[in-house]
Symmetry: C2
Subunit: 346 residues, 2 copies
Amino acid sequence: MSTQALFNVAVVGATGAVGEQILKLLAERNFPIKSLKLLSSARSAGSKISFRGQELTVEEATPESFEGVDIALFSAGGDVSKALIPLAVRHGAVCIDNTNAYRMDPETPLVVPEVNIDKISEHKGIIANPNCSTIQMVAALKPLYDRFGISRIIVSTYQAVSGAGAKAINEMLRQSKEVLAGNPANPDILPVGSLPVKHQIAFNAIPQIDKFQDNGFTLEEMKMIRETKKIMGDDSIEVTATCVRIPVVYGHSESVYVELKSDFDIGEVKSLLADAPGIALVDDPDTQSYPLATDAAGKNEVFVGRVRRDLSNPRALNLWIVSDNLLKGAAWNAVQIAEYIAIPQA
Amino acid sequence: MSTQALFNVAVVGATGAVGEQILKLLAERNFPIKSLKLLSSARSAGSKISFRGQELTVEEATPESFEGVDIALFSAGGDVSKALIPLAVRHGAVCIDNTNAYRMDPETPLVVPEVNIDKISEHKGIIANPNCSTIQMVAALKPLYDRFGISRIIVSTYQAVSGAGAKAINEMLRQSKEVLAGNPANPDILPVGSLPVKHQIAFNAIPQIDKFQDNGFTLEEMKMIRETKKIMGDDSIEVTATCVRIPVVYGHSESVYVELKSDFDIGEVKSLLADAPGIALVDDPDTQSYPLATDAAGKNEVFVGRVRRDLSNPRALNLWIVSDNLLKGAAWNAVQIAEYIAIPQA
């Protein structure tokens, strides 16, 4: 009989859209928990959350919260991660961070288990969870990278409002009702809560996710460009991204053009995708089958379809990649990492 | 005092979404009309439409309808165009066709006035109006093509449901209400009315517009690829397209990556776009200004923004191009062509 090690786990941002999914997955996966601490901002502290039939009280996250914690999952915003993670690490916790705070830190592995699980062992207390739109793309491209090599990626995204949090979901649903009733949308949150200008998201497409950088790209676009190179471990891959918010609740979709380094057989491409871990190939033009955000919502897989050889470049492929941005794009990827830490050879 | 020539005009498909906009534009532009004939299928014949204060009765389109007609604007579907246009041409009418029936016919000019107005004079009775998603893209790219040359275009579209007609608009609005009320969407029209499988469009993104071809691309994607080369008059331009329907009522948006043939200054690119006829540059990251479908709806211009040099290829640009698919994408482009025919040097 083997003795299963048990862990003291903390979830920071437990009341947020991603935190809620993390708790659901920890319960579903029967994660080896000794104790579970739910942490949040002072504002949400005191709320009650049920976990495996037990009612837990959310506590305010403070430096002392991490005493005795083995594994801490952070999804409470970059500022919270920057303030608390160094203290949690000093207390001996391994921190899995869902925010942008440490992703490009050279000391911090940026991990998508299907792509670079080997990097986890290099951690110095922090493992970063990549941006949602990056995770699903690199997970789908990894089997093609390994077999053919990739020289260039051009991606346009169709991103769900849940990526901007529960408030953005409510805003989109509220606006939709208003516009359907013939009233003005009165935008209040999107595209970026902390910026002054707001745009209608209901029945619209907003080509801005996160703040603009000096080079004219948004931070979301730069995340896709930089994180893809870091996760693939290959700075030679050229990446271009245009990130767009559309009125979908759950599930990011991506139109991806990818140039491979060698000739390929389209049947082999489809087989590689169908057999890859965590990937589901949904691709049959005859039955009008392709991935849809509404089908991907609530599922852990990355769905790939519309796989076709480019007509202008025989070494290029076009793909349509869809996944639930709160699951594989955030909570599920983080819980996968936690499982690799907790359960060696998981 | 000059004497203005007046024309006998017929609008075929007068009761459809595009026909309605054509009539509105003919009135607004004070088109030189001697007589106006409104034609439709037998089903819609008998309905009354008001034009410049006069009530007109819609008649069923028959071969005899075109006797004495000088200019006929067709937007009643490809089958109607194929059946009636040859007869209308024999009656001496110049036909401006909004459908896919004659676009790739080598004898038929495919015209976007801002791009290739010189081709109009080559017509043999038929001038084809390009596909909506093609028109706005080539109109925006033409000034860059003339100055720098274009070697490659990779476009992903975010297309409005009005491109699939009034029924698709109603379907999307009905589904939105149902889903907001917690009911199933019960899709009935999209993605393609004549195909068996239907998908939810409310709060979703459907990567299929029109039927699949044997090469894995949809007909909409092939239209963008073929028509771009024909309108630009340059088969050497490599084009890749992924066409996606999203829950927007009016206004197609496009994420466009374009490789130029020579070095460029980004300031000059913006000046060329700002000064180009029919183009409006909306591009200021500091004020979060970029084109939006909701802003473009009801306007004739093609709006361009998010103009930025590609980070991976210094000769490439990224653009966000938005226009009302029923106006510049259909009715306005057709009326522009009609004006060039009716009013020399217009």
